[in-house]
Symmetry: C2
Subunit: 225 residues, 2 copies
DNA sequence: CTGCTCTTTTCTGTATACAGAACTCGGGTG
DNA sequence: CACCCGAGTTCTGTATACAGAAAAGAGCAG
């Protein structure tokens, strides 16, 4: 593995795990010393993270971790919505049925196992495998690249909303609808089920964000009227 | 301007203008000498171009200009379709009417001026201004970033199909429908008009590609049955 | 004549030195 | 007391040196 990859992975994980909160500043020499590398691979890692949008460049004065405001999350989902609908739609027409029949069974089983609170990690892992199976089946490189670029930001957004059992159960039911559409080879069903899932997911995240920041909650309530 | 920006812009333009055809190899030292720079900014430019997908890295052995096959163009539009529909939809609900009323008038006028073959460049410039106005109005950073990343590839695809007057006239009418939807504040109309425009645009490009490569043309004809 | 292996060459990946730009902080001035 | 100017410091941006890996080519063996 190249040193620049190491640096990229380390910095990315640190940002995603919240070690460096939004607004935290990064300097090249500082990180080079921390990770025991020279500035060259650090520079490359910074450039990649900035291209992804996790860092923003302070023209000539280093980088800071990008903000993840309520508005940013809304914009994130304005893109995610159409990407995942298109992916679901294409996967429904291009999938290998066997793969998704198996996944459907697993999601069915998850409806039960989510009763136990320690089944949560297994559920996250199941969702990750569904994503991977869809990535495999979609056969559309640009679409794949676009959703891949979004995922780190989604991971950060997810961290803001601590999932509760009810939400996870609802999420499992929504995923089941998506997989059903894929198994049936029904692009519209898959896309619409995805739309529903993401609208609810966004609502859940925004509710958590608004609870943390009362002012924004009031704004949101006004907008909803 | 930084040297790495210079290198990036120069290499990008050379690729987009077809100076380096798909498959052409790039070495760091070679380009550093050609552009009179050291390897460091060249490296940075290569990394950016590879992230965009214009170059592909040959793990440890330089870069080559990426291919732009028929299949790649189809995949390009599988993403472009949903991005531009979403953008049109959001713009229709967020636009400043005055800006787009003015653009509508210009597209109306273009229907006339496109009769003269030397009005072509002016038309391309008008389309570019519509894009810019929509970029301005969409107010959705991730969506904007996604379409921006696609544009170099679209420029390459467009080069494959030499536009004829009939296609440009049809394109102007299609754009007029999109702008109408935006002016009317009708997201659905704007999105559907965009969908129509892009489907026809893809068809036009693929026809040109297939004419250049007869085998692919036969394949396409078979698929169409 | 073909295929394998070893040598040579050339390239990337990394470290580091150097220069110039931007910020900071202190002193002076209005 | 506030503001401005300038020296100093610290950072990025660029050039370059060096090491290691991969490919190309020559030579030898089958």
């Amino acid at each position: 593995m190249r040193a620049s990859d190491t640096a990229y992975a380390a910095l990315r994980d640190d940002i995603l795990h919240g070690e460096f909160p939004p607004g935290a500043a990064f300097a090249e020499v500082e990180q080079a010393q921390r990770l025991n590398l020279s500035r060259t691979p650090i520079r490359e890692a910074f450039a990649r993270l900035a291209a992804e949008g996790l860092l923003v460049a302070l023209s000539g004065r280093g980088y800071v971790v990008s903000e993840l405001s309520r508005q940013t999350i809304v914009e994130l989902f304005e893109l995610r919505q159409v990407l995942e609908m298109q992916i679901a739609s294409l996967v429904a027409s291009r999938r290998d049925p066997a793969v998704f029949v198996a996944l459907r069974d697993e999601f069915s089983a998850a409806l039960e196992s989510l009763q136990h609170p320690n089944g949560h990690d297994a559920y996250y892992e199941l969702v990750a495998r569904l994503d991977a199976a869809m990535d495999d089946a979609v056969q559309s490189r640009f679409l794949l690249a676009a959703i891949r670029q979004l995922r780190p930001h989604l991971a950060r957004a997810r961290r803001l909303a601590k999932d509760n059992p009810e939400r996870l159960l609802a999420s499992a039911r929504e995923h089941l609808m998506i997989v059903d559409g894929i198994v049936d080879g029904d692009p519209e069903l898959a896309a619409h089920a995805t739309s529903i899932h993401l609208k609810r997911s966004l609502k859940h995240i925004l509710a958590a964000v608004d609870q943390a920041a009362p002012t924004a909650a009031a704004d949101s309530a006004n907008l909803a009227r």
